[in-house]
Assembly symmetry: D2
């Protein structure tokens, strides 16, 4: 088959013809109908510091967001059939560690990530463990189906636990409007949030943030130090109930706390890549802030919730807007360029080689 | 002032001229701009068994749902000003019992209810403790502002605790589409529910349930014993995640559990008035069901949430639909008749005597 | 091997020589070092109505509580080794249903129970799915290790969800002091409960309830209708914060709610076997009671918690007291008699044939 | 009356004769039977940077932990009587802000602290709002009754919310064994924790930490960088479920996260006084850590829980051990010296002038 392969420990990647994969015990073979590019893929493509230390195996097919059709079942697969349409939960958990056995499989101690630790999905075919193949409504646009995975990140950021206060009538701040931030705004709207504030510097994303339903989108470079005060004053002096930090910028991290009402909660998803400094006394302690580190999506509570939310046409419409570009996978370098230059929000890859 | 007074321990009530009330320490005097009729008021009007045993003081002004304008402050009132627009939290808590001091003021051991235990709001003026006067946006239609209190019941039924799983993408059943049931459907929609099922026998309410956003409204008299099976089959064999029992009928109580997925939750709001029989083993134990008795609204978490949700125009539009009749308070007997004959959902009372 | 077999659809059972079982894929073979008798086993032994309708396969080896040593691994087993000491989680879940995939494996829609739906553990050897074999500290007394499973029921009844208020400084009522009730008292003590009330009619169990740490053990036949009032008055007029209904008697079900403080919670574990009547208005609605149906134990959050609690010597000492009799499995009829005549709390079975 | 007064904006304080205070509306006058010294009092005594910026009013009577007897009621007090024994919740909330009205009075936006914002308790008599006077069992040792307030901090750190997973069978780390840390260890033991790890440099506190029930007390200066690894290895490779950071040291902050299992939770109570640097990616995000800023105690859920826990004699015995010194309030300078030189854990002040 054709596949986009990271061939050497350096920037870029190449289309290669590789042997068709075979599903092992408990696995399924999927024909890729759509994939999409995540920030992680860009890191691997540009071979940044993170990728250099994180990626162990080269050559490796990379990419992890996909939707496809099951075309072959490995031995012992019982819950799926040939012809099923599926997306991938890209975290492959061991199922036996403390976290896996206590309802926290998404933070498995021995997790393997598709397209990072093992061959991924920028290919004609991909192999998935049965457990990681999430069955879709066949009528769902494959491009949307592929970005269910980051949609799951967004839902999980908004609702990090089963038993956490909901968003209905609450004020929300999203710092950073990359694809996950944009999806979070759209979902917060669906979940009944009152006012949604967002920060973003890029004009394409700023426009999309408004389309997703943000009431206010601020450019932190322009508003600067007054931003927290502005948001507090726009919320009757209280600050927001929920902050989602999705940018990975230290100044946004600070803003997420400064704009928060006492007793509010903060979800941290954006990676900072290095140590950051914070006034913990005022940010967290005096405020009795609650903070949730966000990694992956709950397996599979978040996926069921995503499925239920996708039943809402307005969400599907908004997701389609976030896919600013649909390109052939053969043009992956162009997709990378669109993202790096911030012309694109989400780029969907069509299986044309 | 003019007031509708329960003058004797029997059916009905009368308009009387009574002395204008004066606000005591920590109280405010409110000019009533709108009130509305609750089922409780109908019970007091018809003087049913519940009213006979529950109402202690006659003569008494009854009615408890209102919106109005503060026109005088009693000594010590600090948080409100003359001219403020307010609605009433109708449960007056003592503030000192175990429940009040542990965040459960809505189930105060010594609660007094406006229009049941003390003079209510079917009058030109009413006195409220400062704590119970909830400040409204002055631009809010007084008729809508008055029914914030049952809207609070609906929100509290959907979200009985701070830390309870949200409704996003979940399947919901509402048994009984009186005003609170209708409001619950509207709010479930705002909170991102997937599919909403409802039961109702009355055609006016059935139509309104659809307007509120119910996907299916069943007449239990017609569908009968198959109803649970139908709902389970409409939810991919799982049953609903959340049931709200709002009818007070034993058969609906059973349905609320039969249609529930294992591990789902049930809110009980509809009073049954007498003992009811249930197969606890199958309804609750084998299913690991979670059940929440619903009384009042959380003071004042629910009110803040209601305020936030009212910012959504689609909710205000739906609430206006539930107010099927707007009549002068002088025509209270007609309002009672409209409700008892089930021609009306919610009747709003305008201050014309 | 030797095994106790339910040979026909009627009372009793017989020792039979049957072929040694072989572990299949993902299974382990365990040499039984101790087993113990659960109420379920008594039902199957006496072949009561429940057993007649529930048990599908006869002949079948019954019994489900055990501890033993792994002596053979089936293909694909990775997390266990020959020589490991294990106990059994007796609910075999499918791992693929909505419940299993959302952290509620204990209420799997397709659960199979050891010794009820498939061959159990009253035998020299037993086969367990790897996932259901819980690894023990080898120094743990096999008799105690075997009753970890009902200990899990007790812990799960006290703490039905991850995110539920703890027992520290709270008042607790346990109605019914069978083995699970007794274990619940012991655990409530370890978890910092303030006062523990219990009800029981049997003198052996009454004495043990006190040993476990109950402050008051009432005989409901003697105290009667005043019991709720007594408990409320012993808790400064508030009632208990947590009730555990473990008897399956309708009068205890009522007591569990009547003795509850408003906003308190009730766990229902005792099966009532038929419909029961309850005043839902006063029991649940006006009180804003929260009710949790209890089935099994959380897989495997409860087991981890059990493991942690077993580190406390006082709990192990108390568990040893609950094992009132240790008899050879060859004397199973005598064990059944000891339980049915209520001379025993828990009977441990030693592997002597 | 005699009182210890901060007379000028500089180090120290003086005994002065000041007019006896009078209880205003809703207040009670209390004769002080015991008080105790908190770190905050030391800051005010030494007049450190925090005190210089935080304390607004001088001269002011300082001190806030007390127990005493009600000797006079102000107008409108209904729930207390002359002769009642009380302790003080030292945070005086406004009762009207968003936080106060949504069950989070402990983080009131307009909180005033006794002995910081208004006259405190290092005096013969003190005035308390009725709401802040917590009624004690009169048989409770006044010295213990006075330190209920920091005991509340400890309980609140262990259980920051109603609906949070309990401590039963869980591994716990406490970094910093000042009085609150020591009390947290004692309470964790009562709540059924499995293994308790602590860090402390001072030998007096180290010894007390063991007495409280810590299984391991490490000196971070000696163990250094290996400490996290040591704790992880002592917990079967998982790390602790709950970390309490009570030292205010940046290195302990880091340790609290490094020793944490993925998905575990951290309570932050120790003030750091300035910005601190942290690797948020590894500390919080990849680990899906949950973090709770801790300020005060929940009003009054924590107090009820404290009351229930104080019913346990072993807790009272341990608390008595923490009070390493009982001195006359006239010797306050010596008490300050004992604390600053770390010879004392908690110093109780007896009303001898």
């Amino acid at each position: 088959m054709q596949a986009y392969v990271k061939t050497s420990r350096g920037p870029g990647g190449e289309i290669r013809t590789v042997p068709d994969p075979k599903p092992g015990a408990g696995e399924v073979l999927v024909r890729v109908r759509a994939s999409s590019v995540c920030g992680t893929d860009v890191h691997i493509w540009t071979w940044n510091e993170w990728a250099q230390s994180r990626v162990k195996h080269v050559p490796m097919i990379f990419g992890h967001e996909l939707s496809g059709e099951v075309i072959e079942l490995g031995p012992g697969v019982k819950g799926l059939s040939v012809g099923d349409h599926v997306s991938a939960e890209t975290h492959i958990a061991d199922g036996t560690c403390y976290q896996c056995r206590t309802g926290k499989m998404h933070i498995c101690q021995n997790v393997e990530v598709l397209g990072v630790d093992r061959n991924g999905v920028f290919a004609e075919y991909a192999v998935l463990p049965e457990m990681n193949a999430w069955k879709n409504d066949p009528s769902l646009d494959p491009a949307l189906a592929s970005i269910q995975e980051p949609l799951g990140n967004a839902v999980h950021s908004l609702l990090p636990e089963d038993n956490i206060e909901d968003l209905g009538g609450k004020n929300v701040l999203v710092t950073g409007c990359g694809p996950v931030g944009l999806l979070a705004i759209a979902v917060a709207r669906i979940l009944g949030a009152r006012r949604i504030f967002a920060t973003e510097v890029n004009p394409v994303r700023t426009r999309l943030a408004r389309t997703m339903g943000a009431d206010h989108v601020y450019n932190p470079l322009e508003v600067g130090a007054d931003l927290a005060r502005t948001i507090v004053s726009e919320t009757e002096g209280q600050g927001v109930d929920v902050s989602l930090e999705m940018s990975g910028h230290p100044s946004s991290l600070r803003l997420a706390f400064e704009a928060l009402t006492s007793g509010g909660r903060v979800s941290l998803l954006g990676l900072l890549d290095k140590e950051a400094s914070l006034d913990f006394d005022n940010a967290m302690i005096f405020k009795a802030a609650r903070v949730y580190g966000i990694f992956g999506r709950r397996m599979f509570s978040t996926w069921y919730q995503v499925k239920g939310l996708l039943a809402r046409p307005e969400l599907r419409t908004k997701m389609a807007e976030i896919i600013t570009h649909r390109v052939a996978i053969g043009e992956l370098p162009r997709a990378m360029e669109l993202i790096q230059s911030m012309q694109a929000a989400k780029v969907s890859l069509e299986p044309r080689w």
